[in-house]
């Protein structure tokens, strides 16, 4: 019923944050989620594999920087997921 990729608290949080910010850096995502590098990378990889998020690598001087953004597919999936949640909650009342 629910998108299994989005139906997870951490992935939901990541996608929610990206839905209201044009791009977010890896550093900021790590700060906000409180995850380790390994864990965060895993969640981001699964979202990226499904085409829900996109990333861009750049350099600030010599420092590498990765920024993530929500794709159109990701945004549509998020909206659908949100609608399904609301319908589900309403049906339970």
């Amino acid at each position: 019923m629910f998108d299994p990729l989005l139906h997870h608290p951490v992935r939901t949080k990541i996608v929610s944050m990206l839905s209201v910010n044009e791009t977010l850096s890896y550093k900021l995502l790590k700060e906000e989620t409180g995850l380790t590098d390994g864990n965060l990378a895993g969640y981001l990889k699964s979202l990226e594999g499904a085409g829900y998020i996109e990333f861009e690598k750049s350099f600030e001087g010599r420092k590498p920087k990765t920024s993530y953004s929500l794709s159109e597919k990701g945004r549509a999936a998020f909206v659908t997921y949100l609608d399904e949640l609301k319908v589900f909650i309403k049906e339970q009342e």
Binding site: M1, F2, H7, P9, T12, K13, S16, M17, S19, V20, N21, E22, T23, L24, S25, Y26, K27, L28, E32, E60, K65, S67, L82, L85, K86, F88, I89, Q92
Partner: protein, 215 residues
Amino acid sequence: MDKEEALKQIETIKNAVINKGYVMPESPEHYFVWAVLSAIGITAGDWSEWFVARFSVSYELVLGVYFTIMLLVGFGASGWFFSKEMQKNDHACTPHLRALRTIYLSSIGFASILTVAMARFDAIVFIYGVWIFAIGFSMYVENAVSRRFFGEQGLILVAVSALYVLGGSFYLPSSPTDEHFCALNRVGETLSLIFISGMFAYLGARLLVKRRCDV
């Protein structure tokens, strides 16, 4: 899945969207720059005479040059301080930040143009109300978007500007003299120094203290 789980998910989404939707840089230096620039602009009536006499130019030209410099230096400095903050925190320039920048640039730019245009008329005394309104309204919009720490202070400035303009219009008789305009000018200048320059200096100091306490 049960209803509790679904509600938890909604809560997660709400918190992420509402609390983190508007990433805004903060810089105490930007406020101090504007405190100084605004104080110089507000007291232009006092120092501009020297330039008018020294260079044999009009008052409007002196004002026009000053406000051009003020806009370039002010927005240049703000842009530089904010980009440093954003780089430090790895934030990107959001559409909201760009819109806020446009709002401030438009309101301050328009107030500058109006000041120069009205420079040779006695009604220039009301320009202080325009400035206080422009800054106050922009601050109100900024706070509504970013939920910054200056709360409803923007609305206070809007109220002060309205009181100044209304009070001034009642104070001036149908045939006002230079003394009337001078008195109203002094009130306008004082209110502007308190509510514009003073406000910027206060916000900068408050942010500085907040940062020192967070360290």
